[in-house]
Amino acid sequence: MRYNERELLSLARQPAEKAAEIRMSVPKKGSVLKKRLVKLVVNFLFYFRTDEAEPIGALLLEHCKITKEEENVFSISFIEEPERKYCFECATEEQCLEWVEALRRASYEFLRRSLIFYRNEIQKMTGKDPLEQYGISEEARFQLGAHRQ
């Protein structure tokens, strides 16, 4: 699949919501845990060799499942292939739980659900659509069910 790699690399250089050195393994046969710089920017998780400026890879965090595994460990898998797991071993359990929390909220789809929820709550309490003032109340992405293909 073609993609605009230059822009993605540029995104990887931007300030991260969260970044840390974490041992990570990819879902490939014989893969072992290796120390990586892991960086969360918007809904992408970039991972770098610790001494390199360009990421080895990027994961788009949509339709994925973040699972807390054994102590200090969590994994990311995608719903169409749940057995293929990217594993992350943190330094502490606390760090592990923080990452699980952050990654679960890192998808565009999660943000959208939050927005719809808040919009509805405010509308119930005030009788007014809070998005009207921004002129975006009719936009497809803010509706339940949005645009069907």
């Binding site: 230059r6 822009e7 690399l9 949509e62 995608f78 169409e80 943000l111 719809i116």
Partner: protein
């Protein structure tokens, strides 16, 4: 750089609703010929397919950080997706009608994660401010107007709980399911409610969740109940619904004024 392309392809083609979809002409990179492609916008990702029923996208444009501009060009209904870097490629697209072009330009220019996050934070803030104090006049019958008083710590916890709430939203097929309180297809407000309740006539209470009932004692102490820091999203939700139901009844009564 590796990208989880298989997951991307799945995301592009799965049943989750798209923010926009349709045919657009895409100008090639090296050659200026336009190719007609089927485009699907999901979140901040613009996928394009050779055909509408292709099983996999030909490519994807990550839209984060882009600008969308109309084109001066002679080619009708053209617009461009531009990025900041000096060596960045500009994607030139053309729609098949003025309406399509406007629809695409609108949806693409607001497609970034950053933008969505901004709007969510703003609404979150509004909701927290509303639940914090009587500034909106909702609880005017209970508290005097004026500057917000310091709130009990339970309410602080409730506010944090409010921020945490989206993590446990009930959902179906990726869409939030929220119409489970107060028969929520009816909104309170000036347009009037399905229910009404006057002191003498036939009581028509607003639709309530089947398991709970508004009782004056409970409603009056809704504020106090919130301060007790409910441990579940469901309880917090119920408390708000009782509060709102009670306030709506009060409002209905006041609106009707004295009976003849």
């Amino acid at each position: 750089m590796k990208l989880n392309e298989r997951s991307l392809a799945f995301y592009a083609t799965c049943e989750s609703p798209a923010d926009n979809a349709g045919f657009l002409y895409k100008r090639g990179e090296r050659h200026t010929a336009y190719h007609r492609r089927w485009f699907v916008l999901k979140g901040n990702m613009l996928f394009y397919f050779e055909e509408r029923d292709s099983r996999e996208p030909v490519g994807v444009i990550v839209l984060e950080g882009c600008n969308v501009e109309l084109c001066d060009s002679a080619e009708g209904f053209a617009f461009a997706i531009r990025f900041g870097g000096s060596k960045s490629r500009t994607y030139v697209l053309a729609a098949e009608s003025q309406a399509d072009m406007e629809s695409w330009v609108k949806s693409l220019s607001r497609a970034s994660f950053d933008y969505m996050r901004l709007v969510v934070r703003e609404l979150e803030k509004q909701l927290q401010e509303m639940s914090r104090g009587p500034a909106g006049g909702y609880a005017g019958s209970r508290e005097p107007p004026g500057p917000c008083k310091p709130k009990p710590s339970g309410l602080e916890r409730s506010r944090e709980r409010l921020a945490a709430v989206p993590a446990i939203l009930p959902k179906e097929n990726g869409c939030a399911v929220w119409n489970n309180v107060l028969g929520a297809d009816r909104l309170p407000g000036a347009s009037g409610c399905g229910g009404g309740h006057d002191e003498e006539g036939t009581p028509r209470p607003p639709p309530l969740p089947p398991r709970r009932r508004v009782s004056d004692g409970e409603a009056a102490s809704a504020g106090a109940a919130v301060a007790q820091s409910p441990s579940t999203f469901w309880r917090l939700h119920e408390q708000y619904s009782r509060e709102v139901a009670r306030l709506r009844q009060d409002w209905q009564q006041r609106r009707r004024g004295p009976r003849p």
